[in-house]
């Protein structure tokens, strides 16, 4: 197992380097002077010159990349062109909010999605399977921002039981998490159904039944345990996606998270923040993937005891 983990760790390094390179190039592809872009539209010529020397933008390109990397390692992502705060601070302030939403959404999604998928797989092509499948299809087709708006219309405007946005109390978390969970729960349900169907058709399921075990034991102990291995992987990936993909939900509910930061920065042309936020998100996503891989190696005995 250790060799597996080490291999996975090593393979993330080129991806990290690639992302940093990509972002580095992106900045230089923008029209105009990079120093001006980084300083922002409000900056004075003196500020621009300051940025130029600070970031060494007059030096050759490889020197620039080298200093870019060294600054990255020190978590120095520059300063926001809007607020002049260090980018890392802006990101750090908002990350816990996004994480909270992501955790809530994933939990909801697993709680409803996995059982739904199992039931669908155990009773395929019955009315209950069709209902769940259709619901899942609705879930992945629904525009997240529209669902959010509709929920607001229902619960905030008409019924007036839940707030329409902002943070503060636990009630604020409900609507955004449910909205965010809608896509994920559908996805997880579909995946669970497909995986369970495959597992249930395996030889070892027939063996289990031939031993006279109760059907419930066959489904949970023999089948689900196998199916959960790829499902856990998918759940982990979805969690990673939610960290940055909550952009639309956060906008609808005015939730101060990482996604909204990215969007606001794009609208305001605040390039240091765009760059920094995307980079942090990329890093987080890779780390989540790595964790998922480690969990996978731990849970599958074929890899654990190699």
């Amino acid at each position: 197992m250790t060799s597996y983990i080490i291999k996975r760790l090593l393979s993330t390094i080129p991806v990290l380097i690639g992302i940093s390179l990509l972002l580095f190039i992106m900045l230089r592809m923008l029209p105009g002077d990079p120093a001006q872009v980084l300083a922002g539209q409000m900056a004075s010529p003196a500020d621009i010159e300051l940025i130029r020397t600070q970031l060494g933008l007059d030096k050759p390109i490889y020197v620039q990349y080298a200093s870019f990397l060294t600054r990255l390692v020190r978590f120095d992502l520059g300063r926001s062109a809007r607020t002049q705060n260090p980018v890392i601070e802006e990101v750090w302030a908002r990350l816990p909010n996004t994480a909270l939403l992501a955790v809530a959404a994933i939990t909801l999604a697993c709680l409803f999605g996995i059982p739904a998928g199992v039931i669908s797989a155990v009773r395929p092509y019955t009315w209950i399977d069709y209902t769940f499948t259709l619901a899942a299809l609705f879930g992945i087709s629904m525009p997240v921002f529209w669902l959010g708006l509709m929920l607001v219309v229902l619960f905030s405007v008409t019924l007036k039981v839940l707030p329409a946005g902002g943070t503060g109390s636990w009630q604020n978390v409900i609507l955004p998490s449910v909205t965010l969970a809608s896509f994920v729960v559908a996805f997880i349900a579909r995946m669970t159904r497909a995986t369970m169907l495959e597992v249930l058709s395996q030889d070892y399921t027939t063996t289990a039944r031939s031993k006279g075990l109760k059907e419930r034991v066959v489904i949970i102990k023999h089948a689900l345990k196998n199916a959960l291995i790829p499902i856990i992987t998918v759940v982990g990936l979805q969690f990673g996606l939610l960290l940055g993909g909550a952009v639309l939900t956060e906008t609808v509910f005015a939730w101060p998270g990482l996604g909204r930061l990215i969007v606001d920065s794009i609208l305001a042309r605040d390039y240091p923040v765009i760059q920094g936020a995307i980079l942090i998100f990329g890093l987080l996503y890779i780390m989540v993937n790595l964790t998922v891989d480690v969990i996978y190696a731990f849970v599958d005995p074929r890899i654990r005891y190699d």
Partner: protein
């Protein structure tokens, strides 16, 4: 003691002697009611797009501030938006925009992704390795975020929306095609063709491409739905198609602030998006079930 499985209709397909996967798949598809519903809805959307001037007279983007934010009535079936424009008219014309985007994105993905996937999978070697690393990198981001980042570089507007979403779709096609090519190229008939001296281009076109068509077809349908969804998302955020062009997502975005007094303006454009994406997903799922040989009962 027993579990339920569906009752297939015995003998029908055999009697007609269908062998090609597409003909067999078509027969299966026709039995899939959900997929048919999806297909019909898509046709309705296409009809709306083509017949828009017939269905709605006048300029859908012309403001009429006197009638701002009126709820649905007999005169205006879906009500009016914040600039007094008919939501019905804008939804109908919006189908043009959305379908255009869907086709554009998928075409971009196909034109760039399929050849790259074919080359990568068939020739292997350094090209494959390099391309795979780039694809890995691109796929390591959630699709929407990637499109978002590209819009940040390229700027807003219809063309940039299509290009950004298209670029985020390319790696999916590359992966798909490459995977298919990798399995097909090991088949004996490909070996035989090479042994008899057939040129590579001919092998690719005649032997490998037909096999790749099946997953491409499925992905195209699903991809169109995704494209509409992404474009609407960008529009909602204000960084996609720009006003006054009637794009459903952008309509939702501008209607959002009036949600407390005019919820209708947020309801109908969103429903248009939802039903469009749903139909492409229904069709795509149906195609997958019909054409994927593993799903034979």
């Amino acid at each position: 003691m027993t579990e339920r499985t569906p009752k297939p209709v015995p003998g029908k397909d055999q009697a007609k002697g269908l062998d090609s996967p597409f003909r067999r798949g078509w027969a299966k598809l026709r039995r899939n009611k959900a997929a048919l519903v999806g297909g019909c809805m898509i046709l309705i959307y296409v009809a709306c797009a083509l017949l828009a001037p017939v269905l709605f007279s006048g300029n859908p983007s012309a403001p009429n501030l006197g009638k701002s934010l009126e709820p649905p009535s007999r005169a205006e079936l879906l009500g009016t938006d914040e600039l007094g424009r008919s939501i019905l008219g804008r939804v109908i014309y919006g189908s043009r925009i959305s379908l255009l985007i869907a086709v554009g994105v998928v075409a971009f993905g196909l034109i760039v992704g399929v050849p790259l996937g074919l080359i990568s999978g068939y020739y292997r070697g350094k090209i494959d390795f390099g391309l795979q690393r780039v694809t890995d990198m691109l796929l390591s981001f959630p699709g929407f975020l990637l499109a978002l980042a590209l819009v940040a570089i390229l700027g807003v507007g219809l063309e940039n929306t299509v290009i950004s979403i298209g670029i985020s779709m390319v790696p999916i096609y590359i992966r798909l095609v490459r995977g298919c090519v990798l399995s097909v190229r090991e088949e004996v008939y490909v070996e035989a063709a090479r042994a008899s001296g057939t040129r590579d281009a001919v092998i690719l076109l005649r032997h490998i491409l037909p096999n790749v068509m099946v997953p491409i077809t499925v992905q195209t349908s699903l991809g169109m739905g995704t494209a509409i969804l992404f474009a609407a998302g960008l529009g909602f955020l204000g960084i996609g198609v720009q006003p006054p062009t009637p794009e459903w997502g952008a309509m939702l975005g501008s209607a959002r602030v009036y949600i407390f007094n005019a919820p209708h303006a947020s309801t109908f454009p969103g429903m248009a998006i939802f039903l469009a994406v749903l139909s492409f997903n229904l069709l795509g799922d149906g195609l997958r079930d019909a054409l994927d040989p593993r799903f034979k009962l």
